[in-house]
């Protein structure tokens, strides 16, 4: 008869998670003030692990793209650009006395990273335009309600409309955002929180694997 295999994920990880949970709950509830040092240590370890994970992610990205360059896969030139940029920024941070806050990295951030990220995010406007064209229609299921809410908030946010639209319109928009929209979002948040609790309990009692 073979014994069940002892694995990290089946026994040890849930036990560690359970122990951490108990310690944090006791500390935050103020039941055991002496645990403060222990929880602070746990928080510090998490921050260290987070930093290490970030570094690990960078190394992983680097390895993936170096492999792509070596094998000449499709789009290897983009990988080359990525690796070259990564090294350039890394070297710039090393050679400058101010490190990450040096002038060269400041220039890179100001003229490359910031405009690039802003440009990518600005594309959201075009997705929204296409979605508004297709989905905000009276004939669709629930379309009247969606369209009413959108028009209320959209017109309220138009500065020029505030000059001639009745104040009642803005009050109605405030009410829409404060009550129906907020209630819906809170419901979704509560639902996801309950799901998170259930998933956590399932993990702790060994019914599911991380």
């Amino acid at each position: 008869m073979s014994l069940p295999r002892f694995t990290f994920t089946t026994y040890l990880a849930p036990l560690i998670a359970l122990a951490c949970l108990i310690l944090i709950v006791l500390d935050r509830a103020g039941i055991a003030p002496g645990l403060h040092v222990v929880t602070t240590l746990l928080y510090t370890w998490t921050i260290l692990l987070g930093g290490f994970a970030l570094l690990l992610g960078v190394v992983n990205v680097l390895l993936v793209h170096v492999r792509r360059i070596q094998t000449g896969q499709t789009g290897w030139t983009y990988s080359l650009a990525l690796v070259a940029t990564l090294f350039a920024v890394f070297v710039a941070g090393l050679i400058e006395p101010e490190g990450a806050f040096g002038a060269m990295l400041g220039w890179i951030f100001e003229n490359l990273i910031a405009p690039g990220q802003a440009m990518l995010f600005a594309l959201t406007a075009f997705f929204l335009a296409a979605a508004a064209y297709r989905l905000l229609r009276i004939g669709r299921t629930g379309g009247v309600w969606m369209l009413t809410g959108v028009l209320l908030v959209l017109i309220t946010q138009m500065p020029v409309a505030n000059n001639f639209v009745s104040p009642l319109w803005a009050i109605l928009a405030d009410w829409t955002v404060t009550y129906p929209a907020t209630a819906t979002i809170r419901g979704a948040i509560l639902g996801s929180a309950l799901a998170l609790v259930v998933a956590g309990v399932r993990f702790l009692i060994g019914r599911s694997q991380p």
Partner: protein
């Protein structure tokens, strides 16, 4: 010579001996038992009637083709009941064969003509395991199904009935409510680049032409005046803890929200200390700080440079929300050793900051602060003010109503209203930027209104567009 057996459901030629059709998954064993010429004869109404479950004679039911016995709704007589039989022929006539219901491939090869029952169906693919339900009317653009499509279009079926059937199966309410699709000239059809061009045009051109014109005022949402009051009541040199929760991707909106707040803090001569959970958060905060101090220097009311006591950095904390719990334990401030955080300020923060400000593009950052940091003993007396994007506003309203948030400033509207409450204007370039964004707000919103109107008009008129509607 390879013998084949033709599927009674979809007409695909399968290798002899196959149990199921390679194309649609229909059972072939019953068909193989019959001679090929009788694979799928046009069912008679009487046969279809007797084939229904509960028919009196089981042996008679077993001899019927699968399409009519197992799926009686596919029987031609059931679907074509409302159609006008061609040339006065009755549907129950065993010799009836609608014109054009032939398989060209078979005609060319000289083999047996395709059973007309295949082409007579309006619905195909129901029985198959791999094929989705398809309506014959939908197949006009599909070259692989051209025989079926041509069959449907060549009949005298009432188009209204066909359209209703399509709507019933696809459950698309717009098809029920709109008249038949109009044939618009290709040039008049709306295409997605036109929508994008309209948006770009309505935002771009007016900015170049009209940005100096009066454009109205931004809407003052609840919570802005309260946030202003909290900052205004700060005593001089008050330590302020700021969680910086946005990066350059959302900086275009968030800078306009945070800029008046930062300038106001300097007005009050408070001592802000910035901490972030984002790798590029500190750089974003520094950039805004530089803009603010430039304004103040130009105004000759305040002189400050980075690394001075007017702006301090706690740093970037990896580890996500757990880092907030660490930060909330006040004795940890004494462990922070950065060039920008003086021991005096660290001590003041450890004693409890006078104000906590969360500047975040996402509502989750504010929620995490309120759930993980504010309940801790050292932070309970510290009021929290949030400066967020407009999208985060609805999720944070309950915290404002409950008093957990002392103030809420969201979106460009909030930032603009906050700046109007300040006694001192921003520098001329910044004021111009705010006025420019008012124009953006106006014309951008009008562009969206126009796009929505166009979408509804297209639905009402039945204009087919490249967008697939």
């Amino acid at each position: 010579m390879t013998t084949t057996i033709r599927c009674p459901h979809c007409g695909t030629a399968n290798r002899s001996g196959s149990n199921f059709c390679n194309s649609c998954g229909a059972e072939l064993r019953a068909s193989e038992a019959r001679p090929p010429s009788s694979a799928a004869p046009l069912p008679e109404a009487g046969a279809a009637e007797s084939a229904r479950p509960g028919a009196s004679d089981p042996s008679e039911r077993a001899s019927d083709p699968p399409t009519s016995t197992e799926l009686p709704w596919l029987a031609d007589a059931a679907l074509w009941r409302g159609a006008e039989p061609a040339a006065g022929r009755e549907l129950t006539d065993p010799e009836f064969e609608p014109s054009g219901f032939t398989d060209d491939a078979d005609d060319e090869s000289g083999t047996d003509p395709e059973p007309v029952a295949q082409a007579g169906r309006l619905i195909v693919g129901v029985q198959g395991l791999l094929d989705p339900v398809r309506i014959a009317g939908d197949l006009t653009a599909d070259p692989t199904r051209m025989p079926l499509a041509r069959a449907a279009s060549a009949t005298d079926v009432d188009s209204e009935q066909l359209r209703r059937l399509r709507a019933l199966v696809t459950q698309d309410p717009t098809l029920l409510n709109i008249p038949a699709v109009m044939a618009w000239p290709p040039l008049l059809r709306l295409r997605i680049p036109w929508i994008f061009a309209l948006l770009g045009l309505m935002v771009g051109l007016p900015v170049l032409l009209l940005y100096s014109q009066p454009v109205g005022r931004a809407h003052a949402w609840p919570g802005v005046a309260e946030a202003y009051t909290v900052v205004q009541n700060l005593p001089p040199a008050a330590p302020v803890l700021i969680l910086w929760g946005y990066d350059p991707s959302t900086a275009d909106e968030m800078d306009l929200v945070a800029l008046p707040m930062m300038a106001h803090l300097f007005d009050r001569q408070s001592r802000p200390a910035v901490v972030t959970l984002l790798p590029t958060g500190l750089a974003t905060a520094r950039r805004l700080f530089a803009r603010t101090t430039t304004d103040q220097i130009a105004d000759q009311t305040f002189t400050s440079q980075p690394n001075s006591t007017a702006y301090s950095e706690i740093g970037f904390l990896p580890g996500g929300a757990v880092a907030l719990s660490w930060l909330g334990q006040s004795d940890n401030f004494s462990q922070i050793e950065t060039a920008n955080l003086t021991p005096e300020l660290a001590q003041a923060l450890a004693a409890g900051p006078a104000l906590a400000i969360v500047v975040a593009a996402q509502a989750e950052d504010v929620q995490q602060w309120l759930e993980l940091v504010q309940p801790l003993a050292q932070m309970r007396q510290t009021p929290v003010v949030a400066f967020t994007s407009a999208g985060a506003d609805p999720a944070l309203r309950p915290y404002l109503d409950s008093g957990q948030l002392a103030g809420l400033v969201s979106g460009f509207d909030g930032g603009y209203t906050y700046q109007q409450l300040r006694e001192r204007p921003l520098s001329q370039p910044e004021e111009t930027l705010y006025r420019l964004h008012l124009v953006f707000q106006n014309w951008g919103h009008m562009a969206f209104l126009l796009i929505i109107i166009l979408g509804n008009l297209a639905a009402l008129l039945g204009v087919r567009t490249q967008l697939g509607d």
